[in-house]
Amino acid sequence: MNDILQTVDWSRAQFALTAIYHWLFVPLTLGLSVLCAIMETFYVRTCDPYWRITARFWMRLFGVNFAIGVATGLILEFEFGTNWSNYSYFVGDIFGAPLAIEGIMAFFLESTFIAVMFFGWDKVSRRFHLAATWLTAIGANLSALWILVANAWMQHPVGCTFNLETVRNEMTSFWEVLFSPVAINKFVHTVTSSFVLAALFVVGVSAWYLLRNRELLVARRSIAVASYFGLFFSLVAAMSGDRSGAVIARTQPMKLAAMEALYDGEQGAPLTVIGGFRPETQRRSGEEFYFKIDIPRLLSVMSFRDADAYVAGINDLVWGNPKHGIMSVSEKMRRGKVAVAELDRYRRARAERDRAAMNEIAAKFDPSTVEGETFLTEYFAYFGYGYLKAPTDAVPHIPLLFFSFRVMVGLGLLFIALFAALCWYAWHDVLSRDKCRWLLLAAVWSVPLAYAASQAGWIVAEVGRQPWAIQDMMPVGIAVSKLPSASVIVTFFIFLALFTGLLAAEIGIMMKQIQKGPDKR
């Protein structure tokens, strides 16, 4: 493997490492901030000091988690530049804007009012403090909006055009970027699933108190709030997840096919509930699994809202299927190479100051002419494919996606059932270790499962996009900075050691704080 390929892989590993660690902390921040605000609202409305104690307790845990989330987020933002230099220029005109807006609109809101939230209890009025807590929660979730808009654009680039003069993609519609169906679904699904994680964290910790027969009032109130909150948002997450599947079927069919391990497309395609993969060398058409359990036609329904719809398989997408109008990857590669070659010809013409050749090529990239429109839609639309080496390069890691997707969905359904049961017990005011020990134990164990589901969700989103940094436009191999692989390896292990040490410290502090319990002063 040459050095640049190693750099690509290590840069991917480093970004994945940072994203995984960052995503360990962010969902809890997003959801717990809202839960704290709800609990404090109860305090302000009822003047019951126990609501104040409850809100302050969860705020203490929120603070421990928040700090490390901020730290890992900083690295993530700057890694776009340090590790993905070509990417940063090629799409910076579009991608940078949400990051800047995130800073101006959301981060300042969060970081200003979080100080009031933590330190203002005895310095400001109750209503002002409540407003600060809500503004902190709004700021945190607004920041999620903007980074998810940026991420959605990478999955489905819209609202932009290629400018030959600047050799980059440039934004043409801010609203198209902001309100693309992928962005809307991604935001709703990611934020609501984060609320679910936070709700599980609250019910898990509270259930532990009930099992130990301590902090009973705080624990019961917390479970009551978090289980209704969690039930509502887990249903919203399920609905937005379903909607995301339908959007992916249209915008990233390869990701959907890989998630389902659907090798050959089918009319009335079934949804595989679970299956056992054969090793890659033994997978033949129709015999990819040792066993599998299907639900007939469900994949067609979920993808196109039509039980008889044709869902493209991996082989259709790689090798083409003229009957269903699916272009092969090799044809896309041919067209992409034409686009790259034209750009290279322009480069040489510019170096030789050949004005006539430059004008001739420039006409092909001018969307206002028929020639330009044709070239941009027929050839440049496949620009990224021009860098692929083989058609199978366009296929992401199938087993990883297949199992991650099932972990996410399976656990999501389990959480709905758990929240429903907790709501029932909370409604009847019978939450105690004598009456529902099994349920409380399940709630405690749901905390690590929530993190597993959350990480699995991001694996589906990001591994499913591979090999693209930007779908169809730029593969990761072209997006990377030209750095020696050794330097990326060194920083990878530095970050690994640092993040792991800090995670261990965070878990240690969290455990101690939970053992200590709410401060009753």
Partner: protein
């Protein structure tokens, strides 16, 4: 002036303002670098840490917004500098990561490493944060060894737009005296500002006297390094670009001196900024007056704003390539498109509103200076 050129200047102003506010907010780092020397007892240290701990997130946010705004408005700088000088940027990130957790974890039971390790983190960030940021920003004046060719994206063998010409990837700054001077300037400026902030925020007579006594050890080196840096800068060489398309870049002796002469408003701003910093220091030293931070803080913003504007406005290249002059970056050749700059300009109208709520929230929280008793009672104290 076309709309695009106006927007490029406007966004350089926003970047400069964010840079100036970031330097102002580095008082948090300056304070961290002094927590040991100003503390006689653990209570003293707790008081200092808690005073700073209520502000660290804003410094962090300003840094993130500075980076994000640079990415959005001048993406070619972002991709060239961060992708090329990655070692120095990675070092900066590392020292800021250490800071982010240090406040929250320092005194919490179960933190594994013990309070002293987190105090070391604060010290490391306190010294190296301003130092490295100063050295990285110093490359605006000294340049860096890179080449840029956007059409390289189509070159099959080496599709790299921005390339670094040395294997040091940013560590070159350690060999450049001007970068050291700016780094050291920021270290002592942040410490000076921190002293003034403590005077405003801490209600403890002994501590305040200690801070005033300490301030002389910061202001003297600050003046020395500022003057050295300014001297080196105005005597140094810069680069400018013309109006033709494509704009040709030429090297120019005394470029920054010419800029201050051609934009006298910046010269006034620079002098006023320096004067206010010195005035604030005098007020702090002689009268232990908490209002010193208002003088030195506004002086810092004016001083850094003038420096940043002098390096980007007036057809000046703000990031000179030391190996290929024509690759040098200026606000004309490295900006985002007119559409993006315009869209972001609408968002930037929120900045006064953001500044207003920050000011209001600070005023509310800092209405009473911090005391030892308050920290002892506070459940969330750092």
């Amino acid at each position: 002036m076309t709309t695009l050129i106006f927007l490029q200047h406007y966004w350089w102003f926003i970047i400069s303002l964010l840079g100036a506010l970031l330097v102002l907010m580095l008082f948090v780092q300056g304070g961290q670098s002094m927590i040991c020397e100003l503390s006689a007892t653990p209570d003293d240290m707790n008081m200092l840490v808690n005073s700073l701990g209520r502000k660290w997130e804003l410094t962090f946010t300003t840094l993130v917004t500075f980076g994000g705004a640079f990415f959005a408005s001048f993406p070619l700088f972002y991709s060239t500098s961060f992708g090329g000088a990655c070692y120095v940027w990675m070092l900066i990130l590392l020292v800021f990561v250490l800071q982010a957790v240090a406040y929250e974890y320092r005194r919490k039971p179960g933190n594994i490493f013990g309070a002293r390790v987190y105090e070391r983190f604060l010290l490391i960030n306190g010294f190296l944060g301003p130092m490295l940021l100063g050295m990285a920003l110093g490359t605006f004046f000294t340049g860096a060894p890179f080449t840029v060719d956007r059409l390289n994206i189509a070159e099959a063998g080496n599709p790299v737009i921005s390339q670094w010409a040395t294997p040091w990837h940013g560590l070159e700054v350690f060999a450049e005296s001007t970068d050291w001077l700016l780094g050291l300037t920021l270290v002592f400026l942040s410490r000076t500002l921190a002293g003034h902030y403590f005077l405003n925020n801490i209600d403890d007579r002994t501590m305040r006297q200690r801070i005033a006594h300490q301030s002389i050890y910061n202001i003297v080196p600050l003046v020395f390094f500022v003057l050295m840096f300014l001297g080196t800068m105005v005597w140094g060489k810069g680069a400018s670009y013309g109006y033709e398309e494509p704009a040709y870049i030429t090297g120019e002796d005394f470029r920054y001196l010419h800029n201050f002469i051609e934009m006298p408003g910046l010269l006034v701003m620079l002098a006023a900024g320096l004067g206010l910093i010195l005035g604030g220091s005098y007020v702090a030293w002689q009268r232990l007056d908490g209002r010193a931070i208002w003088f030195s803080g506004s002086g810092t913003v004016l001083f850094v704003l003038a420096l940043m504007l002098s390096v980007g406005w007036n057809k000046t290249c703000y990031y000179v390539s030391t190996v290929d002059l024509q690759s040098s970056l200026n606000i004309g050749n490295s900006s985002s498109s007119e559409f993006t700059l315009r869209a972001m300009s609408w968002v930037s109208l929120l900045i006064p509103f953001v500044a207003a709520y920050i000011w209001y929230a600070w005023r509310v929280i800092d209405s009473k200076p911090i005391t030892k008793a308050e920290i002892a009672d506070d459940e969330h104290a750092y």
